[in-house]
């Protein structure tokens, strides 16, 4: 629709995103990643009806494609992004995030994202892990309305600090992480069905690479080895997941109707059921978000040997 990719410079840091009806989130999303130092955004709009596409087309650093095809058939957006990445990301550092995900890495308050990618290059590291951390408000999810341009973390400022389950996936070599508020409330009795939280969103892309399922794992397998197995800690970050805004209740109902999500939208069905009676994810032991150092101390991410 609006490809400004001819302007890409060889060392630009790229951000890849798919979205549907996220107009209200876009201004803050773009500002957040521009401030981190992302040079160009490549986005796929899945048939939004709320003006997302028009808004993105007006942005000077955004290339946007439009697709009316099924999200499910495109393997939840992975195929679109793999195609775009193969075409444009070769040789670039590529960050793949959703409009409700905010990437946090060690020293992100004092060092731009290029400091991280330069360090990864110097260390011969090709992929960087950032697990999904579900953020939620205190009180009902729909209690505080989100305003365009607002930092969603002002509302969804709480998270679960230490209830994560980790298993190793023998086939792809990645870790499979579950837990957090969704496992604690919606999947209490069926923890094995709780959504995966492991993500590898930042990769020095090569056209031979491919994401297998969302950004949970990649091929070739070596890229999934973002964890140390001999006792040490590799550097890692966190994706603050601000899904649980007031826009969510509405969205969950809509998504359920469309049935475009994984495993027959089982997750959304669980939400819709739980959300009706008790949409409060907050508990006495919820942790209030301060900064990346807090997440480091809690052991959710690590500086590794970056100092």
């Amino acid at each position: 629709m609006s490809a400004r990719t001819h302007a890409l410079r060889p060392d630009d840091i790229l951000c890849f995103t798919t979205l549907r009806n996220e107009r209200v989130r876009l201004p803050y999303f773009l500002k957040y990643y521009r401030d981190l130092g992302v040079d160009h955004f490549l986005m796929v709009d899945n048939d939004s009806s709320d003006g997302s596409l028009e808004y993105l087309m007006a942005q000077p650093d955004v290339s946007v494609w439009h697709s009316a095809a099924s999200y499910k058939r495109a393997r939840f957006g992975v195929d679109w992004l793999n195609w775009l990445q193969m075409k444009y990301a070769h040789g670039h550092w590529a960050l793949v995030v959703d409009p409700d995900e905010f990437f946090v890495y060690p020293f992100c308050d004092t060092r731009p994202i290029r400091a991280l990618t330069d360090w990864l290059d110097a260390s011969s590291i090709k992929s960087f892990s950032a697990m999904l951390l579900d953020m939620y408000p205190k009180g009902r999810i729909d209690a505080q309305p989100y305003q365009e341009g607002q930092n969603p973390l002002e509302i969804t400022s709480w998270f679960d600090a230490g209830n994560y389950v980790i298993k190793k996936n023998a086939k792809f070599g990645n870790l499979w992480i579950q837990g957090g508020p969704r496992a604690r409330t919606f999947f209490k009795d069926l923890p094995q069905k709780a959504p995966a939280l492991n993500k590898i969103p930042l990769v020095k892309w090569d056209r031979r690479y491919a994401y297998v399922s969302s950004t949970h794992m990649l091929l070739p397998r070596g890229l999934n080895l973002v964890y140390d197995e001999w006792g040490g800690e590799k550097a890692s970050g966190v994706l603050l997941h601000t899904k649980f805004l007031d826009t969510f209740t509405h969205k969950a109902a809509e998504e359920l109707e469309r049935g475009q999500h994984y495993a027959a939208s089982m997750e959304y069905r669980a939400y819709a059921a739980s959300l009706k009676d008790n949409p409060d994810l907050w508990c006495k032991w919820s942790e209030k978000y301060i900064n990346w150092r807090q997440l480091e101390i809690l052991g959710l991410m690590s500086k590794g040997n970056w100092a």
Binding site: I166, K167, R184, P191, E229
Partner: protein, 566 residues
């Protein structure tokens, strides 16, 4: 013109290199720049043209500088020769790189060196004494040959090393010199440097070092030992290396640290660290009486980073630390106590034990029907839930998470044969665990219940079997926990003494003397209950011997003063 000459090895970030070269030159230090041969000619030419206005900034012949190879030494030699030939009045020559940044006014460095006119600052240690080598090549750096690039032809490199080891190939040091190693960044006196470059045997040494691994860390370091009057074995350049032997990089947020380090020069600086360049290149007023560099605090930060990368935080399992079994450096993050049989034997044991030890005492965390957190909470630190399904999805992870989430507060919990047994091996093999078992106490709830005896009998047999397996785990050669096991009969002989031992080991210093003892459950008729089980053909043996009639010893006279005052 000043008496200190600066050599700069440059291969990238030319704008920064230009800035630094001008900074040295403005302070009166002549500069010789070596640009890596790999840099394209037009880039090199425009860089040279930009600095053409400065008479005292020269460019020497270019060599290909690949990490770990001779090129870097050849470049340094070429630059040194040009330096000594072009500038006659130098007393010291300082080797630096394009990503070095002077942290103190250049005058201070000049004065510092002027006060030490005959001292060579070069880190230089024999191979036996340096622990910082990477890849297991220390003494072998000098005894093997290294014709292949480590970065580009890793397989050939490794293969050739293996082959030479197999053939027991060994090179001899020319003239019997002793190999020394140290930081690449030195500051030598004119005399020492000229001595090395004009040595009649230089051809011999060069031929030898051309096949040494990472000669830039050993060529000058070794030969300076032959020539120098006075060696200070340290580098004036602050340069820290990580566990892979690549330099740590400094960013804007290191500003205060670098300022307080009092070092003359630091590397590597991230080229986009605008604030560092801005501040240090314009800093004219220096705090008074700074003398010796003092990088202690920076050293600690980088040493910690290396430690975190190689050893990590004990008891932490997360997205970028998931150790293989046996490589955890501590399965859990802190000490905890596992108590088996105590809640069954004593009434109100948990609150009593919490008071006596100042720790958090949970009920049966691994009970099949629910997680019994202390105080009946449904969620606990870290938002860990009491759902048994969630716990059983990963029982070991549940325990390690609990201990991690409650760092700084000791956790105690009840365990027993009726519980999920998955964490048994983890606890037994964990030096952080203190496990105390009163064996056979599981029979007490059965004894007090009024259920159908046939059911009781089956349950008793099952529990005895499970507890017996648990005791085998505890007694296995793999167990590393602090373990105490009593039969119930032994324990009630002198309960307070045993409790005292457990409490003392936890090491909580109570300000107040604890007078009260926990109340033991009424055991009247327990002997008969055990006999009934025996009569049904189920032999309970884990609790020890109880007489059929009358009360067991120790029961009717609970020790009046359990806690002795010294």
């Amino acid at each position: 013109m000043s008496s200190v000459g600066i050599i700069m090895l440059v291969h990238t970030a030319f704008e920064r290199a230009e800035q630094i070269a001008r900074h040295w030159s403005a302070a009166g230090c002549p500069v010789v720049i070596h640009v890596d041969q790999a840099v394209p000619r037009p880039v090199f030419k425009s860089f040279r043209a930009r600095l053409a206005d400065r008479e005292d900034i020269r460019f020497c012949r270019r060599h290909r500088c690949e990490w770990g190879t001779w090129g870097i030494v050849a470049a340094t030699q070429a630059a040194s020769e040009l330096m000594l030939a072009s500038f006659q009045n130098l007393r010291h020559v300082y080797l630096s790189s394009g990503s070095c940044l002077p942290l103190r006014p250049v005058e201070e460095l000049i004065d510092y060196l002027a006060e030490r006119p005959n001292t060579d600052f070069i880190e230089s240690a024999t191979t036996a004494d340096v622990p910082w080598t990477v890849g297991g090549l220390d003494a072998e750096r000098f005894t093997l040959r290294f014709p292949f690039s480590w970065k580009r032809h890793r397989l050939l490199f490794d293969g050739y090393v293996a082959l030479q080891r197999l053939l027991r190939f060994k090179r001899r040091m020319p003239n019997g010199i002793v190999p020394h190693m140290g930081s690449q960044w030195w500051c030598l006196t004119r005399q020492t440097l000229a001595g090395i470059l004009e040595d009649p045997d230089r051809g011999l040494y060069d031929a030898y070092f051309k096949r040494v691994w990472i000669p830039d860390e050993s060529y000058f370091q070794t030969l300076a030992r032959q020539r120098s009057q006075k060696i200070e074995s340290r580098s004036l350049t602050l340069s820290k290396f990580d566990f892979q032997g690549k330099p740590h990089i400094f960013y804007d947020d290191h500003l205060q640290l670098l300022r307080r380090s009092d070092c003359f020069v630091a590397r590597k600086i991230w080229p986009h660290a605008n604030r560092l360049y801005e501040v240090f290149l314009s800093d004219k007023d220096s705090p008074a009486n700074r003398t010796e560099p003092n990088p202690g605090k920076i050293d600690r930060i980088f040493a910690k980073a290396v430690d975190r990368r190689t050893r990590g935080r004990a008891g932490l399992y997360m997205q970028s630390r998931f150790p293989n079994p046996g490589w955890e450096n501590g399965v859990t993050s802190g000490q905890y106590s596992v108590l088996q049989g105590f809640s069954e034997l004593f009434e109100g044991f948990e609150p009593w034990f919490a008071k006596a030890t100042g720790s958090r005492v949970h009920g049966h965390l691994f009970a099949p029907e629910r997680v019994y957190f202390s105080g009946g909470q449904s969620v606990i630190n870290g938002a860990l839930s009491d759902s048994p399904q969630t716990r059983d999805y990963d029982p070991r992870g549940f325990l390690t998470s609990l201990i991690w989430n409650t760092r700084g507060e000791r956790q105690c919990f009840q365990f027993g044969p009726a519980d999920v047994q998955d964490p048994a091996w983890l606890m037994a093999g964990d030096p952080n665990a203190q496990i105390s078992v009163i064996s056979g106490a599981w029979a007490l709830p059965l004894f007090r219940s009024n259920r159908d005896f046939a059911t009781l009998r089956a349950e008793a047999a099952e529990l005895q079997k499970i507890e017996s397996e648990f005791l085998n785990v505890l007694r296995s050669p793999y167990s590393k926990a602090r373990i105490r096991i009593w039969t119930m009969a032994d324990f009630i002989e002198n309960p307070m003494e045993h409790l005292q031992t457990i409490i003392d080991e936890i090491g909580f210093k109570s300000l107040r003397r604890l007078g009260e003892a926990p109340k033991m459950t009424d055991l009247t008729g327990f002997g008969q209950f055990l006999q009934n089980l025996k009569n049904q053909g189920m032999h309970p043996y884990l609790m020890g011997d109880f007489p059929v009639t009358g009360a067991p010893t120790g029961l009717h006279r609970p020790t009046p003063k359990p806690y002795l005052v010294k």
